[in-house]
């Protein structure tokens, strides 16, 4: 049913550290790989080796430049974006077929591919562009938080986390229960001032973004320029220097 649960037992989600992310797109690739070879319709590529290659991804990394208000040097920030598994997910309630749902047990937002008619209204309702309609399958695809990994007892324990988190070489992605204030992810969010994306949309995202740490600033005046110690050439060499300069 597309009614949102009033309460979920857990709020599983991601914490993404914008300070640490190096923008390597490793999470994008591992997500595409895992979710093409495992649960649900594969993430198709259309015209992959042709002039107009395009395809479905559940996670994409943008790059932004931010010009600080005080006029300092601009910062480049790598910005991974995927489904935020919102508590008040507008994509779920608009779904006419009951394909979109939010799980009571862990709060994960999923698509039942056997019911999706590919109308695209859920993607229209999502402010984050987290849902992409697969052109080959005609079915709405979205981040599953790797439901087929996190509970999968056939995998070694260290692999029971989303593929993007497992693969991140910088440790910029964290997975856990954001509904439990004592979880590692909740502590991290509290410590680093985790933030919601587009809070004015009222979606109450579960995924949190950790803002870049403040850059170091000089606490005193920079040292005066060093005195020039190179001497100006004189005599014949001085003349030669000037003559060559004029050529």
């Amino acid at each position: 049913m597309t009614k949102l649960p009033t309460h979920t037992e857990k709020k599983l989600g991601l914490v993404i550290d914008l300070d640490t992310c190096v923008g390597c797109h490793g999470c994008v690739t591992s997500c595409k790989g895992w979710n093409t070879q495992n649960y649900g319709a594969p993430l198709s590529d259309i015209d992959a080796y042709g002039a107009d290659p395009h395809g479905t991804f559940l996670n994409r990394v943008f790059n932004y430049e931010v010009q600080p208000a005080d006029g300092g040097a601009s910062q480049t920030i790598h910005f991974p974006k995927s489904c935020l598994h919102c508590e008040d997910a507008p994509c779920v309630t608009v779904c006419p077929t009951g394909a979109s749902y939010k799980r009571v047990a862990d709060g994960i937002v999923l698509v039942n591919e056997d019911r999706c008619m590919g109308c695209g209204l859920c993607a229209w309702a999502c402010p984050y562009g987290a849902r992409e309609l697969d052109e080959a399958a005609g079915i709405m695809k979205k981040c599953t938080l790797c439901v087929d990994r996190i509970y999968n007892e056939n995998l070694p324990e260290e692999d029971r986390e989303p593929a993007c988190v497992r693969t991140c070489p910088a440790g910029a992605r964290h997975f856990g229960d954001l509904g439990d204030p004592d979880s590692d992810v909740s502590k991290l969010v509290a410590e680093r001032g985790g933030m919601d994306l587009m809070p004015e949309q009222g979606t109450k995202p579960v995924n949190q973004y950790l803002p870049p740490r403040p850059k170091d600033t000089l606490d005193k005046m920079p040292p005066a320029a060093l005195e020039t110690i190179a001497e100006e050439a004189k005599g014949f060499l001085g003349w030669l220097d000037k003559a060559l300069e004029k050529l």
């Binding site: 009614k3 994409r60 480049t76 779904c95 077929t97 992409e132 079915i139 803002p211």
Partner: protein, 291 residues
Amino acid sequence: MHPAPSVIIFTTISGLGFGYFMWLGLGIPDLYGWEAFAAFFVAYAFSVGGLLASTFHLANPKNAIYSFSQWQTSWLSREGVLSVIALIVFAIYAIGRIFFDTAMPLLGYLGAALAILTVFSTSMIYTQLKTVPRWNMPINPVLFLLYAISGGALLSMQPIVAAVLLIVLTALQIAGWMMGDKRLAESGSTKGTATGLNTIGQVRLFESAHTTRNYILDEMVHIVGRKHSQKLRMIAVAAIGVIPVLLLLLLPQSLIVTLIALASHVIGVFASRWLFFAEAEHVVGLYYNRG
């Protein structure tokens, strides 16, 4: 938003059909026999034709039957359910008028109410979306209803009623465009809130996440043709309202005049629906737009 022909045809034609149904349900005009058959044929052709056009928008239509299930939360589902109930009620009502020379006024009023609710649900599919600020305002359902009722008045050959409704519609449509132009700014969403980086300073896109198009860009970051929007608005205003009203009020009343007014009006509705989609900015564009 991408102005897909399927949704433009759907909202235009089905709105017209259900608007006509509303008048027929009220017994205006009071038709029986062959005349009633012709009228209901037109109403069914428009409403069902529009609903069928909407299914061309589906990427996986084999699951469309499930779309009647989620009426408790989904406006799209409600629209489907209401349209089917309205069409069934009108089938009984039409059979009475066509074959038995019997008007069942209460059934007609019920049908008229259902037709109006169907158009309202169609409008709410768009109005409910906070992500598209231009759609997310109360004047949009009013406009959808006025389009349906005034188009229906033209179809039911009521020149004076139609002229009055078209004047109100045209005025409110112009107001709607002016209000819509300010909506994205009023929504408070910016590149800064989208990325959460407004606490540091001014945010610019350095590099997009992908070099080629994708579903999100094709569907929701449509900007082609917006530069012609002012001209199209003028064409729409002339065709929806100005031309039909002048024809209806200045020329002697006749079937031909009303039909020409209707043709002009329908062309105008197509233009205005194209604008409704093409001009609508989705907030996801904030992640992509430069500047």
